[in-house]
Symmetry: C2
Subunit: 393 residues, 2 copies
C-alpha cells in the first residue's frame, strides 16, 4: 500500500546529469549532514535535561503537564523562526511533536505515583480487555488491586473487605445485575464506579445498590491505547462527589481529561458519537466485502483522503466485534435511531433513480449551512492530517 | 472544538508546590531553552544550505526529489538516535517532516522550469476551479497558456493555432460534446488530454475527434491542494504515448505521481474509491442535519477518532456540491451500485429489529477476514494520525 519512491510514470531521462557530476553538490550535502548530526545531538542533550526535570518534579510531587510553560516555549521558537526566515508554523509543528513526545515519556514515569497512596481498588470483571487494562494501570501506579471474576462470588465478602473503590468493568448487559449483586458487600465509604459505555441505567443501579459515593465513568478510548495522555473520560455524577474526587484525580494524573456530563445527556449524545458512526462504518465495510472489490487496486488509486477513509473502516474491523455489538445494540432507542438512519438513506434512492443533481446540490447546500463554521475547521484539520499521512507513508 | 489546556476536572491542588519554589528547576528550564534556541538556529542554517542545493539543481536541471538520498539521510539520523538513547521512530518522524517541508519548498522553486520550454497549452474550461488551478500552474511554469471559454468558440481556430497540448477541463456531461467540437481544430501533433473524473467515455471521444496523440488524465486531488507533492494523477493511455510523455513529465516535475491505468478499469475502481465513499458521507451528514444533533456537544465528547471521522464529513460539505453531484451521478452503472448499497443497509434493519448481536458479530468477523492484513495496517496508520491530531489540536 505504501507509495513506492520508484514511482510508475517517473521518466528515466538519460539527459539528466548525475548528482555526483555537479561541482559543489556533495560538499553542500555534507554540510547538511553535519548540521543534522548536531541537531540530533542537541535533541539527546535536551532529553537528558528533561529527565532531570522529571526527577525533580517527581520528588516534589509536581504535575507533569504544564500548559503555560509549553505554550511559552512554543511561542519563543515561533518568534525565533520568524527572525531566522523559517516558516513558524513548521517550527511549531516540530516543537509540538518534541514537547508531546517528551511529555508522554514524563507522564509514564510520574503517573506511577498514586494520588491516594495505600488505597485498595477492586476491579470487577478484570478478565475483560478494559478490566485488564485498568488493573494494570492501578497496579503499576502502586495501588493494591483485587480482582473479582465470574467464579469469585463465594469470596465477595473477603474481596470487598476494606476496599476504597470498586470499578465495575463487565459487558453492558451484565452491568446492572452485577452492580445489584455487589452493592450489599461494599464498605459504606467505598467509591462505586463503572466504566460502561452507557451511563443512565448503570448509574441508577449503583445509586440503588450502594449508599456511599457513586460516580459513573466512560473512558472514550479502547484498551489498545498505550498512553492516556489527553484521552477523554466522561464522569457522570452520582453521589458524594468530593469523596469520589481522588479517583477522578487519578485519571487526571494518568494524563486523561475528565469531562463531567449528566448520565442521560451522555447516553443521548453517544447514540450519535458512537453507535451511528460505528454502524455506518460497519455497513460500508460489509458492502465492500459483499461486492468483493479489488482492495489493493483501489488503494493504489487512493488519494490520501480515500486512504484515510479506508483506514477508518479497516480500523473498525481490526477491533473486537463484541465491543461494537454492545455499543450498536445498547438500547431500544438507539436501535430505533439506526433504523431511521437506514430509512433516510432510502429516500436518496429516488435521487439516484432520477439522477436529480439539482435536488442533490440543494440538499447538500442545506447540510453545509447547518454544519456552519465546522466545515472550514474540518477542512483545515483534515488537510493537516493528509499532509501527515503523505509525509509518513 | 479545541481541547482547552484548562481542562475541566483538573484538580486545583493547593498542596502542590509552585515550580518557582523548586531549587534547580528554573536552571534546567533555561538549559532546555538554550538547547532549543541552538536547534532552531541550526534549522535556519540547514534551510540556507538547502537553498544553495536548489540553486545548483535548478542550474543543472536535476529533479528535486531524490528518494535514496532522503532515505539515507533518515537512516543515518535513526542510527545516531539509537546510539544517543533517543527513540529512533520519533527522530524519523521529525526528519520526515523536516525533509518533506524542505522538499515542498524546493519543488515550488524548481517546478517552475517547463519540461518543454516554449510549448503552448490550451485550457478548455479554464473558468472552472480545476481549470483555473492548472492554468495557473502552467502559466507560472513558463508555458504560453491560452484559454477557451463558453463564448470563445468563434475564435477556436485562432486559439488552437500552433498549440502543443489541449487540456479539457469542463463539467462531466459537457466533456464528450466539447471534445467533439474541439477535435477538428487541433494541429495534428497536438496532445489532446482531459481531466474528467471518468475516463472511458472521454477517451473514446478524444480518439474519435483527434487523430494525433491522446491521453486521459484524472488528477486525484482538488483545487484546494496547495502542493502537488506526491499527489496522484491517473493516466489512461490513448494514442502515441511517447508524444504525450512530456505532458506527463510536467506533472511529475510538479511533484505528482503519475499512475497508468486502463480507462475502463479506472472507471470501475472509481465507483468505489470516489462515488460510494462520497455518497455514504453525504448521506451521513444529511442524517445528522435532519436529526438536528447538538454538534458542539457531541464534539466536546469526542474521542480523537470520532473527531477525525466528523472532520471527514465536515470536509465534504465544505466543498463544491456540483463536483460531488458529478462524481456521484456520473453513469447509470454507478447509480445502480449506489442503490445496491442502500439495499444492503436495509438488510441490517432486521438485525437491529431483533437486536441479533450474534448475527452481527459473525458478519463482522467475515468482513475482518476479507479485509485481511489491511486491518492491522489501518490500525497502525490511523493510530499514528490520532497521535498527530491530539498533538496539534
Amino acid at each position: 500500500m505504501t507509495i513506492s519512491p520508484e514511482q510508475p510514470g517517473v521518466p528515466d531521462n538519460a539527459l539528466t546529469p548525475s548528482p555526483a557530476a555537479i561541482p559543489g553538490l556533495e560538499e553542500l550535502r555534507r554540510d547538511i549532514d553535519a548540521v543534522d548530526e548536531q541537531i540530533v545531538a542537541l535533541l539527546a542533550r535536551r532529553h537528558l535535561t528533561v529527565q532531570r526535570v522529571v526527577a525533580l518534579k517527581t520528588a516534589h510531587r509536581l504535575p507533569v503537564y504544564h500548559p503555560s510553560r509549553e505554550e511559552d516555549l512554543i511561542s519563543q521558537r515561533r518568534d525565533q523562526a520568524v527572525r531566522a526566515g523559517l516558516d513558524p508554523d513548521h517550527i511549531e509543528e516540530l516543537y509540538r511533536s518534541i514537547v508531546r513526545h517528551s511529555r508522554v515519556r514524563q507522564t509514564v514515569q510520574v503517573s506511577r505515583v498514586p494520588v491516594r497512596p495505600g488505597a485498595r481498588v477492586l476491579l470487577v470483571g478484570a478478565g475483560g480487555k478494559m478490566g485488564r487494562y485498568f488493573a494494570e494501570w492501578f497496579t503499576t501506579t502502586g495501588y493494591e488491586v483485587r480482582q473479582l471474576e465470574r467464579g469469585d462470588w463465594p469470596q465477595v465478602g473477603r474481596l470487598c473487605h476494606g476496599i476504597d473503590a470498586a470499578l465495575v468493568s463487565v459487558p453492558i448487559d451484565l452491568t446492572v445485575p452485577v452492580i445489584a449483586q455487589l452493592g450489599p458487600h461494599l464498605p459504606p465509604e467505598c467509591v462505586l464506579a463503572d466504566i460502561t459505555s452507557v451511563k443512565a441505567a448503570p448509574l441508577d443501579a449503583m445509586l440503588a445498590a450502594h449508599a456511599g459515593p457513586v460516580v459513573g465513568l466512560h473512558p472514550l478510548f479502547g484498551p489498545a491505547t498505550h498512553t492516556m495522555d489527553k484521552q477523554l473520560v466522561v464522569a457522570s455524577p452520582g453521589r458524594a462527589p468530593e469523596a469520589c474526587q481522588w479517583l477522578l484525580d487519578q485519571f487526571v494524573a494518568w494524563g486523561n481529561i475528565v469531562v463531567p456530563v449528566d448520565a442521560r445527556q451522555h447516553d443521548h449524545l453517544m447514540t450519535f458519537v458512537q453507535a451511528l458512526r460505528h454502524f455506518a462504518t460497519f455497513a460500508f465495510g460489509d458492502f465492500l466485502c459483499r461486492q468483493q472489490i479489488n482492495l489493493p487496486a483501489t488503494l493504489e488509486l487512493s488519494s490520501p483522503i480515500y486512504r484515510l477513509e479506508m483506514g477508518m473502516i479497516g480500523r473498525l474491523f481490526g477491533q473486537d466485534p463484541e465491543l461494537y455489538a454492545e455499543i450498536i445494540f445498547a438500547t431500544p432507542e438507539r436501535r430505533a435511531l439506526l433504523r431511521d438512519f437506514v430509512l433516510s438513506l432510502q429516500q436518496h434512492c429516488e435521487l439516484l433513480e432520477t439522477a436529480d443533481k439539482e435536488a442533490f446540490t440543494e440538499r447538500f447546500r442545506r447540510v453545509t449551512e447547518w454544519f456552519g463554521p465546522f466545515c472550514g475547521q474540518a477542512m483545515r484539520e483534515s488537510s493537516y492530517l493528509i499532509e501527515k499521512l503523505v509525509e509518513r507513508f
